[in-house]
Amino acid sequence: MSENIKKIKEVEKVVIRFAGDSGDGMQLTGSQFTETTAVMGNDLATFPDFPAEIRAPAGSLAGVSSFQIQFSSDIIQTPGDDLDVLVAMNPAALKTNLQDLKQSGIIIANKANYSKKNLKLAGWETNPLEDDTLTGYQLIALDMTKIVSHAVEDMNLTSKTVSRSTNMFALGLMFWLYDRSMDSTISFLNKKFAKRPELVESNIRALKAGYHYGDTVEAIQSSYKVPKAKFERGLYRNIMGNQAVCYGLMAASQKSKCRLFYGGYPITPASDILHILSNHKNFKVKTFQAEDEIAAIMSVIGAAYCGSLGITATSGPGIALKSEAMGLAVVTELPLVIVNVQRGGPSTGMPTKTEQADLLQALFGRNGEAPIPVIAASTPVDCFNAAFESARIAMEYMTPVVLLSDAYVANGSEPWLIPSMEDLPEIKTHIKKDGTKFQPFKRNEEQLARDWGLPGTPGMEHRVGGLEKDEHTGNVSYDPLNHHRMTELRYEKINKIADSIPEIVPHGAKTGDILVLGWGSTYGAIRTAVNEAIKDGKSVAHAHLSYLNPFPKNLGEILLKYRNILIPEMNFGQLLMLIRNKYLINAKGLNKVHGKPFTVSEIYSGINDIIGD
């Protein structure tokens, strides 16, 4: 081969999806590509998508696991709609993902896995790598398994070990294609397999084989460069949503000087919160894996009664089980944060897929009048702020708070401008230690928050519980007017939170044809679509709600400034119902529950459907 002259094209943004069998290591491959891309200074957003089964039958359509990343020299908000590159490690991955590939997009396929059996499992009648199915795409089909086995020939590895390294080959090839360094992954492999040097060696050889394949084979016309994005100055790292929730809560614990107590029960997609917090015992974080969802929240209520910042995290089915206890936390007015990492429902639904259909459950899913503030995280990075803010409200207002996240935000990642603890605000608690006759339901004027008297404090002995209590003495009371008054007080207190939250400021036109109103993880797709519509000369704005209860004070006023209100949600119109009910306006919904986030183009056409092209 003649001396290689690498043609490098500069591009602004790229969308790659790694797809393969559940056992092919696609999540690891994707996260390694992400790490490297982050360090190289691109903005990025990721979307891991995997089946609930740990090992679905090999080669089946149900067993396909994928990891999508968009990276850019510009600031981006979503993992991208259409793919520039699809890495399809087997026929099932090609089958389930091909429809998302751009025209003339690149397909990288491991020929070795396109056996008759696998083709049949995936429902291909003939081999798409060999017929005209893929005409119009740039197909790079190669036998990765064979190349890797040549690369490790002298190592005497089992064929299983060899085929398990093919994901590193694919990663190496992608590193070459997009001009990334292998260093970060090499040091990762050294750490990960520190006790098994032969795996370090075989994986690094596979990685390099992939990289050098790109370099030396003329199959690929050119490689691409994505210049650094222009970020705000500061120190960055990449962070996932669930991790950011944990860090936000730990920060709030420090800023309130209340120990963090976490009680949880394993549930997808919230379990990582339990894993991460239990790994930080040296921060004096106490974690408790309870026997069930109910015990998890009850333990947290017990800890909150004793002065801890109480946290529990779960997903929709877990919230259903915790409902009675959430009511207890409402009536005893204790500071708790209840994280719901939403997933597809109802019932067990689609555990690993995303949805936003628990909003009304968060607001109303309890017996009696039991108002709870509800906060929603819009991006992986926003999970930090949303968690900190949830804890602040819980403690300043002495109330349980629901923090809504979802599978998309929880598992997605993006660059995070690392905050300094010094810059975060202090959180004031209502702990009383004066030792006089303690009245548990004595409230302060500003927040209507009750005093917090902790067991172990002399002279503060008192009883709380699920029975209605007298407004003044705190004793059990069946007095009709007292019950009415206490119910009012519990509402007033939550409504007062609106005094402490920012007003909503729409992005884009201040008045105009259409306001797209969103909440939670639809943020990225809405913002990108609205920006494109603005570029196209449309009179459009975007407002995004972090506070679902109470709403920002000026929301009603803002809504009146636009001729149309469009509310995209991954449910059948829950925020829509709230907005129409509260503000009596004819807002319209854009709704889907595919278990996948909205694409930018879906939102864009939603806008067009209302105001015309």
Partner: protein, 337 residues
């Protein structure tokens, strides 16, 4: 500060200003009085007591005690108490529960607190009936029990609480009776002294819905023949003349009459630490032809959960140093812009 120091605490310090609303004559009164009598004698500052309950007649208990108290929801007291004890291990935490609360709706939490062995005392007021909901049979009601929900008699086989507790890994399992005050007083103190989860079942008469459920154990004429009072290191004898005792025959417990069909040396000596004995003794719950064991059935020393947790935290700090959030956030791959 107005609080009374521990040395001068009296029963009065533990009586709240609330009217007790149990039915007049309820066995709960006697238990409340004993707890109020025992607490000042335990050498614990008053502010360190926390009483947690679920739902049911007995679960109103915290309102009548002038301590910290939490009347929670049905079946969940043990779970709430677990969190409280973990958050503040200095507290003396007492769970007051009933047979519906602990054995039925709260069965899961009940077995798991025993398995974990938190240093918490559980008082199970067992009246073998649902009182607060007005008279349905409970998981400890005997088979054939006629109640509002079992007009033809219950077909359920009942739970045997001490045996359930043993099976769940309980480290202190005892039984008392509402009418045996001195004995109950002792058991409350022993439960407190035990480091780990103490389970004290208290037979308690509900004269409205299940009157006389334990009369064979409490009537003067009968009780000498029906109570097997367990004392550590003492032979398991009973009867008016202390002439009956428990002996082993073919691997099972049997009642023997000393001087008739057996000798004093044949009578088993009670060893709280013997789990096999504990299992056999707990088997004697409502068993025809046998006395009912009261006292400490089983006791085992095992580090409590919260101690192990605190050790882990300390060790993590020793190894990793006390956590610093700024360095945690900056850990791993970072880059400067």
């Amino acid at each position: 500060m107005s609080q009374v120091s521990e040395s001068t605490l009296t029963r009065k310090d533990f009586i709240s200003d609330q009217d007790v609303r149990w039915c007049p004559g309820c066995g709960d009164y006697a238990i409340l009085a004993q707890v109020q009598k025992v607490f000042p004698e335990l050498g614990i500052p008053k502010e360190n007591f926390l009483i947690v309950s679920g739902i049911g007649c007995s679960s109103r208990f915290p309102y009548y005690m002038d301590t910290f108290g939490f009347h929670s929801i049905h079946g969940r007291a043990t779970a709430l108490a677990t969190g409280a004890k973990m958050a503040n291990p200095d507290l003396s935490v007492w769970v007051v529960t009933g047979d519906g609360d602990a054995m039925s709706i709260g069965g899961n939490h009940f077995i798991h607190i025993l398995r974990r062995n938190l240093d918490i005392n559980i008082l199970l007021f067992n009246n073998e009936v649902y009182g607060l909901t007005k008279g349905q049979y409970s998981p400890t009601s005997s088979q054939g029990h006629i109640s509002k929900s079992t007009p033809l008699g219950s077909v359920d086989y009942p739970f045997n609480p001490p045996q359930l507790a043993l099976g769940a890994g309980g480290t202190f399992i005892a039984r008392g009776i509402d009418r045996e005050l001195k004995h109950l007083n002792q058991l409350l103190k022993e439960a407190h002294n035990h480091s780990g989860t103490s389970f004290l079942e208290i037979y308690q008469n509900c004269w409205v819905y299940n009157d006389g459920a334990f009369s064979n154990l409490t009537e003067k004429e009968l009780k000498m023949e029906t109570q097997l009072i367990l004392e550590q290191g003492m032979p398991m004898v009973f009867g008016k003349d202390k002439d009956k005792g428990m002996r082993l025959a073919k691997g099972n417990l049997e009642v023997g009459t000393i001087g008739k069909d057996c000798k004093m040396e044949d009578i088993l000596v009670h060893d709280e630490k013997n789990k096999i004995h504990g299992l056999m003794l707990s088997e004697l719950t409502h068993k025809d032809g046998f006395p009912t064991p009261i006292g400490i059935i089983y006791r085992e020393e095992k580090p409590p959960y919260e101690e192990l947790l605190l050790n882990q935290i300390q060790k993590a700090i020793q190894i990793q140093g006390e956590g610093n959030l700024d360095s945690l956030f900056q850990n791993g791959h970072t880059w400067k812009v």
